[in-house]
């Protein structure tokens, strides 16, 4: 019987060398061969290749930034949100609408937070589908609301850019009667604003443009925002986020996330908006969660006195400094010319979590909403305060709407839009 060759590669091995040693020595010799081969490569073609490869990707990024992103899109689901490290760019948001919606339609761009994204509603039950049905074919509704976004965040940036593309447009966003949003959208979503800023997509007219420039200068000096600005400035030249986000959506994703453990490289376009058949059960669970109820009641009672103080007689009166500040920061949210195209919907909470409210609390709450609405309308915004006919069954939790609540919301918003933004105007 022939003796097996224990050293088929002919390596110079010590006597009795094990398999691991042989493998390691083989790898070392191959690496040395590769390195010596690499060292003989001419430098100028290598350098030229680096430059060509980089520039080609930058050009490809600019090209795909104008392509239609998102297939079968109805809203931002978790896999295509920053929660899973998927960061759509300003260009991608805008190009989707440009490709999808004809310019002769009245574009209704929905923004704001998860209340308007439709948390609590399955895809077929979305309030924005109902809104589209109520408004009719002269209007085109696009839902860019995303979790924890404010009026100026994310969709608010797309609004400012699309207002120049669509002669008739309205931006509908959830908002608060006492809290305004930063001009750049705040912590999570400011990347979209500065992406648009450095690409030259945002309005630049004074005074709003001057404020944006001052904020940019200020944030470039701050340690926690400097890197973002450097990155977005570089990205305005390289379009790297556009290219690799596009590849991640259509081809393969390369960023691991703990929410995609079992399919780390799957293209995001394959993720669908899965229905939750247990929404009613979730509604019951939040009602039976005593700790959750206690926190929501406490938060709600605190909200009732936002911007109000008790005078020496015990009467609740507006705190003028708070409302002046609210008016100042709200006025900075958008350029003046865009404010009339912005409908801010002041959302109310679930009455189920207001059971411990006193009559004074409820009266204060109405005062807060009235003062907030007045302040925003004085600035030029369209404002709609949600009605009082929402019941506990219209909410899945303290703030998100069930399908029935979504339908009521759609009706209120549709009536307001048709009254102000009629196709005949």
């Amino acid at each position: 019987m022939p003796t097996p060759d224990l050293n088929p590669a002919g390596l110079d091995l010590p006597p009795g060398a094990g398999r691991a040693t042989r493998a390691w020595r083989w790898l070392g010799e191959r690496t040395e061969t590769f390195r010596s081969g690499l060292a003989t490569l001419p430098a100028w073609p290598l350098l030229a290749g680096i430059v060509i490869g980089f520039i080609a990707c930058s050009v490809a990024g600019r090209v795909v930034s104008r392509e239609k992103m998102f297939r079968n899109f109805s809203r931002f689901i978790e896999p295509i949100q920053p929660q899973t490290l998927f960061y759509p760019t300003a260009s991608e948001l805008v190009s989707y609408v440009d490709h999808k919606i004809p310019r002769d339609k009245i574009l209704v761009l929905v923004g704001g937070a998860s209340y308007f994204r439709g948390t609590g509603q399955n895809n077929g039950e979305l309030w924005t589908r109902e809104l589209q049905r109520l408004l009719g074919s002269d209007y085109a509704v696009v839902n860019f609301a995303i979790d924890q976004a404010g009026v100026t965040s994310f969709a608010g940036v797309a609004f400012q850019i699309l207002a120049r593309h669509y002669p008739k447009m309205i931006y509908v966003s959830s908002g608060s009667p006492v809290a305004s949003d930063a001009i750049d959208g705040g912590d999570v979503y400011r990347y979209v604003f500065w992406d648009a800023y450095y690409k030259g997509l945002l309005p630049s007219s004074s005074p709003w443009g001057d404020q944006a420039r001052r904020l940019a200068q200020q944030q470039r000096r701050a340690a926690d925002t400097q890197e973002l600005h450097l990155g977005k400035w570089a990205d305005s030249l390289t379009y790297s986020c556009d290219l690799w986000t596009f590849i991640g959506y259509y081809g393969f994703f390369t960023v691991w996330s703990n929410r995609t453990v079992y399919s780390p490289f799957r293209a995001w376009r394959y993720y669908q908006d899965a229905d939750d058949p247990n929404m009613v059960q979730r509604q019951q669970d939040t009602r039976h969660n005593l700790e959750y109820g206690r926190i929501m009641e406490e938060r709600g009672r605190g909200f009732c006195s936002s911007g109000l103080n008790q005078d020496p007689t015990g009467k609740w009166v507006p705190d003028q400094a708070t409302w002046d500040r609210f008016a100042k920061y709200s006025g900075d949210m958008f350029p003046d010319a865009l404010k009339p195209k912005c409908l801010i919907v002041l959302v109310r909470g679930n009455p189920y979590f207001m059971q411990t409210f006193t009559a004074q609390d409820r009266q204060n709450l109405e005062t807060v909403y009235r003062l907030g609405q007045d302040a925003l309308e004085h600035l030029g915004f369209q404002v709609l305060t949600m009605g009082h006919d929402y019941t506990a069954d219209d909410f899945v939790d303290a703030g998100h709407f069930m399908p029935s609540g979504g339908r009521k919301l759609a009706k209120e918003v549709a009536v307001h839009i048709q009254g102000v933004f009629s196709p005949s105007r």
């Binding site: 001419p42 290598l46 290749g49 490290l85 690799w244």
Partner: protein, 49 residues
């Protein structure tokens, strides 16, 4: 001592193409690194209240 090799235009051209191809891959990788550097070190955690 390694044997002296005569200069070969065909071998030089092949090495130039190999260098170019490798350079393009490196350039693409650098472009990808720009994208990865833009991502935050920690993902945004959304907490529905």
């Amino acid at each position: 001592m390694k044997p002296h090799r005569q200069f070969s235009p065909r071998r030089f051209s092949a090495k130039a193409w190999a260098a170019l191809a490798l350079g393009i891959l490196i350039g693409v990788f650098f472009h990808y690194i720009f994208y990865r550097l833009s991502l935050p070190s920690k993902p945004f955690i959304y907490v529905a209240f």
